[in-house]
């Protein structure tokens, strides 16, 4: 199974890697427990920075699509197929839409909502 990235695409490179691996899981090109290449191998093969692939792997691990087992390497998560179907970005947008709707109904202006959102995002 091969993944392909387009370096001229507007979609960020790490995001392309994430999506391609999720697609590979969904289409069963790779299955639960299958080993994945190391960050270094994939980055060198795709001529990308190691940090880009590391970021993609971090996001996939957060979404429980892959699991890293120390020096033994990175593997496809046992429930990867189920987790691939969950679109976190879509879920975030839906949650925010509900919150924004509630704020507007309470009489808040868009400007106030933006300021409040920015404040809430402060670490």
């Amino acid at each position: 199974m091969k993944i392909m990235i387009d370096i001229d695409s507007e979609e960020p490179l790490f995001s392309q890697v994430v999506e391609q691996i999720k697609t590979a899981v969904r289409t069963k090109a790779i299955r639960a427990g299958d080993p994945l290449p190391s960050i270094r191998q994939l980055a060198n093969d795709l001529e990308l920075n190691n940090k880009t692939v590391a970021k993609a792997y971090r996001l996939l691990e957060r979404d429980n699509v892959i699991v890293t087992k120390g020096y033994r390497g990175t593997f496809v998560h046992a429930d990867a197929t189920a987790h691939c179907c969950f679109d976190l970005s879509a879920w975030i947008e839906a949650q925010l839409a509900i919150t924004i709707k509630a704020c507007r109904e309470a009489g808040a202006t868009d400007s106030e909502i933006r300021i409040a959102f920015a404040n809430a995002m402060q670490p």
Binding site: M1, K2, I3, M4, I5, D6, I7, D8, I21, A24, A29, I30, P35, L36, P37, S38, R40, Q41, L42, N44, D45, L46, E47, L48, G73
Partner: protein, 301 residues
């Protein structure tokens, strides 16, 4: 104490091995290399395979097609003539090898001279690949999701054999050196150099397996095949070093140092046969995928 040898037999072996060294390294393999380069240039011309000839290599290819590698071959023939001249002088002067060894240094010097045109080709190859990477403009890049393992490229049996021979040499060598406290700097230097060479082989192979592609256009299949051949070359080379050192050590111990020049010549020939010979035999021009060097549809013209 040197053993008693029939000097005529020693000289016969010596001249045969040196003639073989002259022919193999300065005639046979340079000719094969030229024929290979010419085959590539004629079968895959720059007009149809532009990515194969980055920068000035378009002109070099045209020159190689028209004239062959004249300077390269002339340099090799001159070196071969020098070698034959040395052999003739040895015969005419009634040369006899030193019974306690030491003449092998001249074999080494001559080998360095013989290897210099090949080394020059090797150095220009690095520049060639650097130019190729600079001109690499593909917008789409692909990678396999299958992890690579060293064992896919180097036979574990060969690695095991190399380790066994290394350990055997180590035991044999150190058994002759006395207690650790009495070891000279030469012993430490020998251990460091031989261990260093083996470590270098491992690290270089790791770089080939997991590192960036040297040739960004080369297909994965061709790349894997090349790494396999290099794995075999390094494995055999490691065994060769251990065996060569064990033999020279045995020569010192059992008094047949008179054969040291023959041993080193034989070993150096083995290195060239294992290096270039395996590459030429296992990676023939016809078996490589040259389609990757054509202009791709998504490339700007």
């Amino acid at each position: 104490m040197p053993a008693d040898f029939n000097m005529t037999a020693v000289l016969a072996v010596m001249y045969t091995v040196f003639l073989s060294q002259i022919y193999l390294i300065s005639v046979h393999y340079p000719r094969k290399m030229c024929a290979r380069i010419r085959e590539v240039v004629e079968s895959y011309p720059p007009a149809e395979y532009p990515h194969l000839y980055p920068g000035p290599y378009v002109y070099y290819a045209e020159s190689a097609r028209k004239h062959g590698l004249k300077i390269f071959m002339a340099a090799n023939y001159i070196i071969a003539a020098i070698g034959l001249g040395i052999l003739c002088m040895m015969m005419l002067s009634g040369y006899e090898p030193a019974l306690l060894g030491g003449d092998e240094i001249f074999v080494m010097f001559y080998f360095i001279l013989q290897a210099s045109p090949l080394l020059y080709i090797q150095i220009t190859e690095w520049r060639y690949y650097a130019l190729m990477r600079e001109s690499f403009t593909a917008k789409h890049r692909s990678a396999s999701l299958a992890p690579r393992r060293m064992s896919q490229f180097v036979s574990p049996a060969l690695v095991g054999a190399a380790i066994v021979f290394y350990v055997l040499w180590l035991v044999f060598y150190l058994s002759d050196q006395g207690p650790v406290a009495t070891w000279s700097g030469e012993v430490y230097a020998t251990l460091a150099v031989i261990t260093g060479i083996n470590v270098f082989y491992v690290l270089y192979l790791r770089r080939m397996v997991f590192g960036k592609k040297v040739d960004p256009y080369r297909s994965d299949e061709d790349r894997d095949r090349q790494i396999r051949v290099m794995g075999k070359v390094y494995g055999i080379s490691s065994i060769g070093i251990s065996l060569f050192l064990a033999f020279t050590q045995a020569a010192d111990r059992f008094g047949f140092e008179v054969f040291d020049p023959v041993l080193i010549s034989f070993y150096l020939q083995l290195c060239i046969v294992a290096g270039l010979g395996f590459v030429f035999r296992d990676i023939t021009v016809n078996s490589l995928n040259f389609k990757v060097y054509r202009k791709q549809a998504d490339e700007p013209s």
